[in-house]
């Protein structure tokens, strides 16, 4: 199992940012998700976030909503998410689960942490779990030996940034903009300032996500961040492809372009 610590140490030694790819479990199909993630890893992604599909994804834009809806319609369950993690972790990438809080809450925090660790997962990203509500999850994660990643945003005050990074292990997720997930024309200029403000409170790696969709944008973000997170741009290509194989080819191209971008 590759840990986040190993990934970021290696990227640093290579003088580059890490590349983080996001795909929901069960999309484009249960097996197709593992194959797509493997293609991303083969093309240069260091870390894979597997999305746990949720019925009310209020932080996600139309692209991820569409993918998640298809996944749920295909009958994706938490067991499938864990199987996907297992398959992806076997490729050698550090594999996390990104999920809204309620599915973990319902499944049971301790049980989820344990089952995720058993599947080879290294941690979670929980975008709607605030520091105030995070204690049970941090305790369960620590007991299972997995990392907890939380988000900071351009609107976060320095006090909030401190509260969030104090709950993080592994890395800190800096949301580049005020808005939902989805590729944008340009990466918000607020991202660089947010990364700098975050670094004032932590030595953890800081990764930037939301709105990164091209190799050039990845290169721009890699100048100041430890990791570049890409989700919707990959999903868009899978949605637009005529079949799963074509989708994999298409996301491999983009991932390779981005992997070049993060080598500053």
């Amino acid at each position: 199992m590759t840990t986040l610590q190993t990934v970021f140490a290696k990227a640093k030694a290579d003088n580059r940012a890490a590349l983080v790819g996001y795909l929901p479990a069960g999309f484009p199909s249960k097996d197709g998700a593992v194959a797509a993630a493997a293609a991303l890893v083969e093309a240069g992604c260091d870390v894979i976030e597997i999305g746990l599909p949720y019925s009310d994804p209020l932080m996600d834009g139309p692209t991820i909503q569409d993918a998640v809806h298809r996944s749920l319609t295909n009958g994706t369950r938490i067991a499938d998410v864990l199987r996907t993690v297992e398959g992806v972790a076997a490729t050698g990438a550090a594999t996390l689960v990104m999920t809204y809080w309620n599915p973990i809450d319902r499944y049971g925090a301790e049980r989820f942490a344990r089952d995720l660790a058993s599947a080879g997962g290294v941690g979670t990203i929980t975008p709607d779990l605030t520091p105030e509500e995070s204690e049970p999850w941090r305790a369960a994660s620590a007991a299972a030996g997995i990392d907890t990643v939380f988000l900071v945003a351009p609107s976060s005050t320095d006090a909030r940034i401190k509260a969030v990074v104090d709950c993080c292990t592994g890395f800190v997720y800096a949301a580049s903009l005020m808005g939902v997930t989805g590729a944008r024309e340009s990466v918000n200029s607020a991202a660089e300032g947010l990364v700098a403000r975050t670094r004032a409170h932590t030595d953890l790696p800081v990764c930037v996500g939301l709105g990164v969709g091209t190799g050039a944008q990845a290169a721009e973000v890699a100048r100041y961040a430890d990791g570049v997170i890409v989700g919707s741009a990959f999903i868009r290509r899978i949605l637009d492809a005529p079949d799963e194989a074509a989708g994999r080819t298409s996301i491999s191209e983009l991932a390779r372009d981005m992997a070049r971008g993060v080598r500053r």
């Binding site: 949720y54 009310d56 309620n102 319902r106 105030e132 945003a153 351009p154 976060s156 808005g179």
Partner: protein
């Protein structure tokens, strides 16, 4: 009931008592409530909370709110005895609190006027809102027109269809209505979409939340602005009957009209509090909105509360003939009132609600909203149970004009 003195005071906005305390610093009513939202929204929620904290004891704010409630919303609303309707409730005396007589036709106007004034204090020029039946959307569009605010309303595409009249009203009032076509295309999806707008435009925009659900401080703010219903009713009941009612009945979707009616009575232990959820086509059918009576504890729309969810935490779509009750979550304070035993919650089917809807129209010449008809149907049952000596106050939260399309179909009119 005469227009003497202010109808709302700082004390009316802040109810304190053994059960009526404000939520704690984290916005918790016991284990319920809190904030489960993207970090990006935390500063905005903090700002709303702090502006409201100042406003609720600020004389100028209270004066302005009082003035609008009185001269614009048409408060205080009257009580109406309904003896012919009561004959069907085993002779118990049923009295209606007439929120249907407010401007825009439902209790929603109370919260909306309060929050529209807050929007001005927040220095924001744009409001967004979700709406189910359209009543909160209409009220928000109304207040936005009154105060010169830009207004965007998110409404499930299914609801747009069953409440077409309200869509037209909102447009006429200058609001942009955005039909939401994802998910179940009803209230819960409209809320998701409104949150997405808010996180994107939070610098300029206030999310004028329409019910006592959502992240802290919305459950507290919306409750306080709706609280006037019970504050007035308590005073009026004493004037009219010389005593407090034996029970209060209110419909519960998200729960704003019910909290508004209940809250001033929470410390009156002799007054039973009954909330009626939509049982739709019946519990067994799976097509219902019985969140408190059949759901489980989870997190939805930023708050820990009772939720209709499956074994893995996926929200289950609700059903009700009434768009305003068609919601798989409920306000956290109701969850707390249920678990503490202070309030009791029941289900009323579509058919029971429609029967009460038609009964009130025929016996009293009042056409209620289908939402409120759930409380009326509940009162008919409760009256038979409590007996002819009992007095029951029903919050008639809205009028039925908006429901004519549904009624025409249901009754083949």
């Amino acid at each position: 009931m005469a227009n003497e003195g202010p109808i709302i005071t700082a004390a009316d906005l802040a109810g304190h008592g053994p059960h009526g305390d404000d939520p704690d610093a984290r916005g918790k009513f016991g284990v319920f409530g809190g904030r489960f939202v993207p970090e990006a929204l935390i500063p905005a929620l903090d700002e709303v909370a702090s502006v409201y904290e100042k406003a609720k004891t600020d004389e100028a704010f209270l004066r302005e709110f009082d003035h609008l409630l009185r001269t614009y919303a048409g408060r205080p609303t009257t009580l109406t005895d309904v003896p012919r309707f009561s004959e069907h409730a085993g002779g118990a005396r049923i009295i209606l609190k007439r929120e249907d007589l407010t401007h825009t036709g439902a209790h929603k106007i109370n919260n909306v006027l309060g929050q529209a004034l807050l929007t001005r204090r927040l220095g924001k020029k744009r409001v967004i809102a979700e709406t189910g039946a359209g009543q909160h959307g209409v009220a928000t569009a109304t207040a936005a027109a009154l105060l010169g605010l830009e207004c965007v309303i998110y409404m499930g595409a299914v609801d747009c269809e069953r409440q077409a009249l309200n869509v037209a009203r909102m447009k006429l009032l200058g609001a942009r209505v955005v039909p939401v076509t994802n998910g179940s295309q009803t209230l819960k999806d409209a809320i998701n979409e409104a949150f997405r707008d808010w996180v994107t435009n939070v610098d300029t925009t206030h999310y004028l939340f329409g019910t006592v659900a959502g992240p802290h401080p919305f459950p507290e703010i919306v409750r306080d602005f709706a609280r006037i219903i019970g504050v007035e009713a308590r005073r009026q009941m004493l004037e009219l009957t010389g005593r407090l009612p034996d029970a209060i009945c209110a419909a519960v979707g998200g729960g704003s009209n019910a909290i508004g009616a209940f809250h001033a009575f929470i410390e009156d232990e002799g007054v039973q509090l009954h909330g009626y959820e939509a049982a739709g086509r019946g519990l067994e059918s799976g097509e219902h909105a019985l969140t408190l009576t059949s759901g489980s504890i989870g997190v939805l729309h930023g708050s820990r509360t009772y939720v209709l969810q499956d074994d893995e935490g996926q929200t289950i779509e609700s059903h009700s003939i009434s768009a305003g009750l068609d919601y798989p979550g409920v306000g956290p304070e109701h969850a707390w009132l249920k678990d503490s035993g202070r309030a009791t919650y029941h289900g009323i089917t579509d058919d029971q609600a429609m029967s009460a809807f038609s009964l009130l129209a025929r016996t009293e010449g009042i056409i209620p909203a289908i939402e409120s008809s759930h409380a009326l149907a509940g009162a008919l049952e409760l009256g038979r149970e409590l007996g002819p000596e009992a007095t029951i106050l029903v919050n008639l939260s809205g009028r039925g004009d908006k429901d004519m399309g549904t009624a025409m179909k249901y009754f083949n009119l």
